[in-house]
Symmetry: C2
Subunit: 409 residues, 2 copies
């Protein structure tokens, strides 16, 4: 008699929009029930009901508590506790056995500052026992227990991280359910020709995550990559089994190594440039100042101007421009000229196949130039090339690139 | 050098209306801060924000979860978790040290069915350590940890019970803050002459608790009596230190043993009577049937009619009358006559001094008769005499008795 193989395991994560109200919770429960009835051992990880975290946070803030405070963590964690219990009730009504499981009760061990914890360990034995007994554990996302025995949260999007970590702990695949049916080649609101990406590498997913449609939290993708967890992004807004989704897989598993996976974008960007009259580049002081002012710098260009002086340019979010300019204007140096431009946007082409392909960068320039879109700044990573362009021309640029790389249907 | 006496300890409990929103939480925190700054060691126990428990319960019910289900307990317990954290934030903003403490983390050990737990133990050592270190523990009310390591709630009003149990565990007095300034001789909305009762016995408090102004949960009064916890009912809707309140004390501690403490009432009562033609009283079958139908019986009278048959009469809540009648009409027996009357109300005079005072009952009859109020049924306990009267005459009866016993100002 051949050894009986154990049933495969699946973690389903439902985000806030999939848990918005009892009706949506019931629809999400039906999806989990469908998977459980198809013979898989199923665990569920849930976010707070949509709007709940914001409601609790604004109450905490009204009383002087910000993110990064242990009491705020305790208040926020209540949201996922309630939704885990509600999901377990919905599964029970579907005649399944289910039990709400808290981060403190497993426990999910968490380290780091309040509001920005990282998971250091998950005791998987109790989950194993529940799964083997046919009970669906419904784990409250976003939270765990710190070394002082107190509740600690993982920061925004932390429920994705909980789901991936639970999947790693019990040897499961992980389906992240949200309100979009996977990752698209670009935003369908901008280009109706956009199509769903069937499979994408962890790295390309990370780059796409910066796009408007934020379907996966960055740390969860990194965690999945490190622990080799197969990750899928699916929609809970279609009937059980109907969402094809996007599968995030290891680089090597991608049989079809398409050069470009998609076109992503970020609106409301600004550009700051500092022209140093003398030879001494003010870059180091500038970036140290920006870090101290909590301004995230995206693209960076450093060069020599024709006149021989140093030039350093960077892009920042539009809302951060005033703080960035304050930093720039406080820089020491006799002949520094600070310039800035606002109303910009960033468009990026993303794909594992970009590595070492200089022609992709050339095509980007050509396509944008042919469309009359001036490129203000360019930055490249291993699997992404980004261009800073006039914000008014962003959608035009997205459609042009999406078409040029033949990403649509 | 005489031994230094340790500072006295005080538990402050804030109910839902005292925790309704950040402004009310801040006002309640100011009361706790006032007590802490006056040199006492202070712990706080909180309810969920007003409306929160109902909101969570209706979501649970929409998914098939009722009270008495473990997952519902987990959902409901989230309300007190959030409010404990918010109260701790408010105290910190007032420059006090505070920490939210959960029922599972102390732990507060709970036994019994979900939604109706009873506290079996509270580990007071951690609370002791926090108090000695100058930290205000803010305990989430209404919940604890059961033997399976899961959250379990204590039922409606369970936060009062948590407060008294915490007070007993740390040797503290217990102030229950609500939206009324203590217990009144009767409902001030009915008789404007009603005055605050300064001190009341546990037993009389229990009887008064049945009154419209439900200021204290019954089990918490019983627990306080059993553990000799001094209990006060105060208002959080006046400035810190301004609420005189009502003190609930042991019988023996009542120097002034006033005969009657107050006049209480319950609206919407009904009466059912069963006249047995033969000698066999149908009482036992009737009350067994009512218990099976979950109908709470209040007053009971059993007698023989002039014709020689048995008569059994009882009062029930008006909403329960249809179920009570169904039970009555299903009773076996050849010559049973079932009668009922609705639109009644119960008026009671309550006081420790009533014990063995037949004249009090006589006065009750006399006063009501003089006012033209017919008494339908009378029931007496050690410290209460209740009369069932026409609902339309209730307020008239309350004022007459309140005046006759000279309870007002």
């Amino acid at each position: 008699m051949p050894p009986q193989s154990s049933p495969s395991r699946l973690v389903l994560k439902f985000g806030g929009t999939s848990m918005a109200d009892p009706e949506r919770i019931a629809a999400s429960a039906a999806i989990a029930a469908h998977e459980a009835r198809s013979g898989r051992q199923v665990a569920v990880v849930v976010s707070a009901m949509a709007g709940e975290t914001d409601r609790l946070l604004s109450a905490a803030q009204a009383l002087g508590g910000g993110l990064g405070e242990m009491e705020t963590d305790t208040a926020l964690a209540a949201g996922e506790q309630a939704s885990a219990a509600l999901m377990a009730l919905a599964l029970k009504r579907d005649d399944l056995r289910a039990e709400a499981v808290m981060g403190w009760s497993l426990p999910i061990e968490v380290e780091g500052p309040p509001g920005a914890g990282r998971i250091t360990a998950i005791a998987g034995e109790r989950l194993d026992a529940m799964l083997e007994a046919g009970v669906i554990p419904v784990v409250a996302g976003y939270q765990g227990l710190n070394a002082s025995g107190r509740l600690a949260t993982l920061g925004r999007g932390g429920t994705d991280l909980t789901a991936v970590a639970v999947a790693a702990a019990i040897g499961a695949e992980c389906d992240i359910y949200t309100d979009v049916d996977g990752v698209f080649t670009t935003d369908p609101r901008i280009d109706p020709d956009a199509v769903r990406v069937e499979r994408i590498s962890h790295d390309a997913m990370l780059e796409m995550a910066a796009m408007g449609a934020k379907v996966l939290q960055t740390r969860s993708v990194e965690y999945a990559k490190a622990k080799s967890v197969t990750l899928r992004v699916k929609s809970s807004f279609v009937p059980p089994g109907a969402s094809a989704g996007t599968e995030v897989v290891a680089d090597a598993a991608l049989a079809e190594r398409r050069v470009v996976s998609g076109v992503s974008y970020v609106r409301d960007q600004a550009r700051v440039s500092i022209h140093g009259g003398a030879d001494a580049a003010p870059a180091e002081a500038f970036f140290a100042g920006l870090a101290a002012a909590d301004v995230a710098v995206d693209m960076i260009v450093q060069a020599r101007s024709r006149a021989g002086g140093a030039v350093v340019e960077c892009s920042v979010a539009g809302k951060d421009l005033p703080r960035a300019l304050t930093v720039a204007e406080d820089l020491p140096g006799p002949d520094l000229a600070v310039r800035s431009e606002t109303g910009l946007a960033k468009v990026s082409i993303v794909g594992t196949g970009l590595r070492g392909r200089a022609d992709v960068a050339r095509t980007l320039y050509q396509v944008l130039a042919a469309q009359g879109v001036t490129v203000r700044m360019v930055a490249t990573s291993e699997i992404k090339i980004s261009a800073l362009v006039d914000g008014d021309l962003l959608e035009h640029a997205v459609r042009a690139l999406h078409g040029a790389y033949r990403l649509g249907r």
